[in-house]
């Protein structure tokens, strides 16, 4: 059912059956995931909140995608390509400070553009001219530089957002200015900056209510990341550790700000308390939940029901957390094992988000995560359902084309 470390080869990398592993999570996690699906089918208000979830998802993907690729950068640095690459973030730090002042965004971006083109060309020239850097490393340098460029762009957005949040209402004019400036650089940023920036600003209020602390911490981590990349990455790892330890506490705090999810979530908390005798599920909630499922069918049904209710209410926060965590875990692929023990501690949460599903052309699909034991898990169904969806997409294209012609 599952493929272990799937290798595109005829070497013996077969789909293996890890049914035990699957069975362990399928009751809790997949049912929870289905709860997410059900949200998309619920009209009106929940639909709007799902939209916010999409915003958070988009923003999170952008941020963590950069972060993940930054992990690749560190791997390159760790191999000793070193100084030019190290210098590069330091220059970006300077530019970052300029950018953070908001007003000279356009100039900074122009400088960034110059920098990316000129320095990259320089790197390539150096790489070609000097035997000590192979052609392969030159390509890596290019990739790394491009990634850093994107990283700075996304980082700019987050720092701007942090400043906006910190400054309460006053920075509204700055936001307007930033929007105007950002409009100018839309072409440069290949449509991405403006969209992400707009998403971030539009959803800022939402975030402020739900996860301001987490966002602020992320921004602090970002600052470190720009100033001193390796240390910052560790700090970010610690942040994730904090996140994993306190996520349920944080979720509960967020819930307190959202009246309409308070009751179902409290049902879950009370149920968990009754099952464990402990106050607040904290970081063991996943384990407790799984254990409680085993206790009795009644508890199983009630817990899953409560979880689904909670998921409905926590649409935004729910999606924000697992996607972010997933993408962070995904970076371990590049970072390698053993570097951040704090991340290892998140294994329990990793299991909780082992399956994150949604519907695509009416079919259930699941995003997969890199697993520390099972590596890259891809099920047979992942391949097969995509074929069905591909055909459905073609049919949808045909329907759209027919309507356009008609």
């Amino acid at each position: 059912m599952l493929a272990l470390a799937s290798v595109a080869t005829c070497l013996p990398a077969k789909y293996a059956d890890y049914s035990g592993y699957a069975a362990f999570y399928v009751v809790d996690v997949s049912d929870t995931g289905k709860g997410v699906d059900s949200i998309s089918k619920t009209p009106a208000k929940v639909g709007m909140d799902s939209g916010k979830g999409v915003d958070a998802y988009s923003r999170t993907v952008s941020w963590w995608r950069s972060f993940a690729d930054y992990g690749l950068c560190l791997e390159v640095v760790g191999k000793g390509i070193a100084k030019p690459v190290w210098d590069y973030p330091f220059v970006h730090e300077y530019m970052f400070k300029q950018i953070a002042r908001a007003k000279p965004i356009l100039e900074s971006v122009v400088a960034l553009d110059w920098y990316s083109k000129d320095v990259l060309r320089h790197y390539v020239d150096v790489a070609v001219g000097a035997d000590r850097v192979t052609r392969f490393l030159a390509k890596l340098l290019l990739d790394v530089s491009l990634v850093l460029e994107r990283f700075v762009i996304v980082g700019l957005i987050i720092v701007e957002l942090r400043d906006w949040l910190a400054g309460d209402h006053a920075p509204v004019k700055d936001v307007t200015l930033c929007k105007a400036d950002t409009n100018v650089v839309v072409d440069y940023s290949a449509k991405d900056v403006w969209k992400v920036y707009a998403d971030a600003v539009l959803s800022a209020d939402y975030i402020r209510l739900l996860s301001a602390k987490a966002l602020a911490d992320a921004c602090v981590g970002l600052d470190f990341l720009v100033k001193l990349s390796d240390k910052a990455l560790k700090d970010s790892g610690l942040w994730v550790d904090w996140y994993s330890k306190d996520v349920w506490k944080a979720v509960l705090e967020r819930v307190a700000n959202v009246d309409w999810v308070l009751l179902p979530w409290m049902r879950l908390v009370l149920l968990l308390d009754s099952l464990t005798g402990e106050h607040a599920p904290a970081r063991d909630v996943g384990k407790i939940g799984l254990e409680s499922i085993v206790v009795t069918d009644w508890k199983k049904i009630d817990l899953v029901s409560c979880l689904m209710d909670a998921v409905k209410g926590l649409d935004g926060a729910y999606r924000y957390f697992p996607v972010a965590l997933y993408d962070y875990l995904f970076t371990r692929d590049y970072i390698g094992f053993g570097r951040f023990w704090a991340v290892k501690d998140t294994a329990r949460m990793e299991e909780l988000v082992a399956k994150l599903g949604y519907t695509l052309m009416g079919k259930d699909v699941w995003r997969r995560v890199y697993h520390k034991v099972w590596y890259d898990l891809i099920e047979v169904d992942d391949q097969n359902v995509k074929i069905v969806i591909a055909q459905a997409l073609i049919d949808a294209f045909k329907a759209l084309y027919d309507k356009l012609k008609g």
């Binding site: 789909y15 699909v365 047979v380 391949q383 591909a390 356009l404």
Partner: protein, 112 residues
């Protein structure tokens, strides 16, 4: 290529998508054909949106948003070759790109 040609090209890719079962080997072409499909589908979606604008005379910011999102994600797609590790992101990026495409199609159809 015309729209019909592009649709025909997409249809020609579907038979190349192999249905697998437990125990089958994971081949590079399993991933690559979906990458080809996604890129071609995105191109077709852009062309259909141009047709939409021409016909209706107005833009749909939501559609542009989702097309942009799909393009952004498609930028991370990669083709694999013999010996490459097929990673979870190879799977995730494909479905994550298809999702905004699906939404964009639905929005356009709703306006027609």
């Amino acid at each position: 290529m015309s729209v019909k040609d592009k649709i025909a090209y997409l249809e020609s890719l579907v038979p190349q998508m192999e249905v697998v079962k437990k125990g089958d080997y994971v081949l590079a072409k399993h991933t690559n054909v979906f990458v080809d499909f996604t890129i071609a589908a995105l191109d077709l979606l852009n062309e259909l949106y141009e047709l939409f604008k021409k016909k209706k005379g107005y833009r749909l910011p939501d559609v542009e948003y989702y097309i942009g999102m799909a393009e952004s994600r498609a930028g991370f797609l990669r083709k694999v070759k013999f010996g490459d590790i097929i990673r979870v992101q190879d799977h995730n990026l494909i479905i994550d790109t298809w999702k905004p495409m699906e939404i964009a199609i639905q929005i356009m159809i709703a306006h027609l």
